[in-house]
């Protein structure tokens, strides 16, 4: 199918983020406002240049989520040039879908400067058991799965069991993903977990749903982030180093998790083929990989299906430190949801803006020297989609 070439036509020009944590005394709106103000400063844009605002959903409160959908951020910040405030929400893939929509709007000149913002309060806006119960229904079929006790631990465990059965991947290799992400989390002031972690500690942690253990499971926190997208031409006028959107691809494979035909692959290979084809680069060109990691299994599967490792071999790479700081293929360099923390749809917002920071040279202690090309992945619901985005500091 002939496709309009989009490579490098748009760029992320500014990012903002608040640290992940527990902030019972702060309203969720403050995470959004602080993030947006930082993104505006980072981009160097006049706030009234923003003509399209895309808030995503907040899971902790339908009331608050509806306030975001109905322009609360526009009003709070006094944004005066906004044509549309329009919520885009697909769970953990919201960021990628919003970037795709933003790029399309800009390429077709229906928008000039698009602001995306995420905020949620899953750490202190709901109780611990409330969080478990929320994630035993959110995105899970109320007729065909909720009655059987499905929740996100079982979702992750079902993929892990089958993947281990087919590939021989070990518990140690799965735990190595947590350790690798923690190496990066130690370097990220916005990460919640910043103390060293060992494989033994992961493997000694409480069993949740076999073979998934507590330290292989993300935890819920408060947080927020924002990014600003504009045309490549305007981006070059605003900032010396934009993060160009080189390519993206996606595949929606299921709603009900039990309907997925391959819990060890999902749609990553098709999504990656689209994204790399559009970007005009190969997996071997990637300098940094920001792979969605709500649980270790999904990071391993996506890593392999993207072509960054052969099937069944990703675990060994994580174990040997090839994904660590200084390693051959630095991966999930913000610490991921396993170390930075799960903040709802923000898991992949965090990874997307980290990919942007890396190619913009703004990743601080985590900066991968000379990073030119970054690949980022995102997925929503019970891994209902496989979304791949490639950013670069140059347009190949």
């Amino acid at each position: 199918m002939a496709k309009h070439r989009t490579r490098g036509r748009t760029a992320i020009v500014g990012v903002g983020e608040v640290p992940t944590g527990r902030f019972p005394d702060r309203g969720a709106i403050s995470f959004a406002l602080d993030s947006v103000r930082e993104a505006i400063r980072d981009a160097g844009v006049d706030k009234d240049t923003i003509d399209f605002v895309i808030p995503t959903g907040a899971l902790f409160s339908p009331q608050f989520s509806n306030e975001l959908a109905t322009a609360r951020i526009v009003e709070e910040l006094g944004l005066k040039g906004v044509v549309s405030n329009c919520q885009v929400f697909s769970g953990g893939s919201s960021s990628t879908n919003a970037l795709r929509i933003a790029s399309a709007l800009i390429e077709t000149r229906r928008a000039r400067c698009v602001l995306f913002v995420h905020t949620d309060k899953l750490g202190t806006g709901v109780s611990a058991q409330g969080g478990i119960d929320l994630f035993s229904t959110a995105g899970i079929s109320a007729e065909w799965e909720v009655p059987y006790g499905q929740h996100y631990s079982t979702v992750a465990a079902l993929a892990t069991t089958r993947y281990q059965y087919e590939t021989g991947c070990t518990d140690e290799e799965l735990s190595a993903v947590c350790v690798s992400n923690r190496k990066w989390g130690e370097l990220n002031p916005h990460a919640f977990f910043r103390t060293p972690l060992t494989i033994d500690e992961v493997m000694a942690s409480k069993m949740l749903s076999t073979p998934l253990r507590a330290k292989q499971s993300n935890m819920l926190f408060d947080g927020g982030a924002a990014f600003i997208v504009t045309s490549a031409k305007e981006a070059r006028e605003l900032t010396p180093q934009p993060a160009y959107v080189l390519g993206d691809g996606g595949a929606v494979t299921h709603f009900a998790y039990s309907q997925e035909r391959d819990l060890t692959r999902f749609g990553w290979a098709a999504a990656a083929a689209q994204a790399f084809g559009e970007a005009g680069i190969a997996p071997s060109d990637i300098d940094v990989a920001e792979i969605y990691d709500s649980y270790p299994i999904f990071q391993l599967i996506a890593f392999e299906e993207l072509g960054l490792a052969a099937r069944g071999e990703a675990g060994g790479l994580f174990l040997r430190g090839e994904t660590w700081p200084g390693g051959r293929i630095p991966t999930t360099t913000d610490g991921g949801m396993l170390s930075k923390g799960h903040i709802g749809a923000g898991g992949s917002v965090s990874l997307l803006i980290e990919a942007a920071r890396q190619v913009m040279g703004k990743a601080g202690a985590r900066q991968v020297p000379g990073a030119r090309f970054a690949v980022e992945t995102a997925t929503g619901g019970t891994y209902m989609d496989s979304q791949v985005t490639i950013l670069g500091n140059t347009v190949p």
Binding site: S141, L158, M207
Partner: protein, 141 residues
Amino acid sequence: MATPDARPAKPRPIVNAWAQPFWDAARAGRLLIQRCRDCGEPCFYPRIACPNCGAAALDWVEARGRGSVYSYTVVQNNAPSAFTADVPYVVAVIRLEEGVQMLSNIVDCDPSAVACDMAVEVTFQRLDDEFTLPKFRPVRR
């Protein structure tokens, strides 16, 4: 800490009208799937149109009730509130012989005996007066 009495009731399926024959049959101890009159493909869960070809002519057919465990997990901790009293319990994706997949629980066996690709057969567990859930147990030799 919630007392056992305060524990919420089990979630009941939120039924789409067109799936009612499935639930009626389950209450009578029969496992129904659908088959497309046009393309012949089986489907589960119940649909208003064939997800393969789009035809609206779907016939209810009784499944043989046998299949295999595609994947499984034994829930030991951090279960949803309504299921904390049930741990350890087994959640599994079942592949029926007809080719369709469904989520269920493996029952009537030691959870540690469950394995990928093991043969299972349907059994029915009453939830309440209205609902009976199809579950699976190892095929008895």
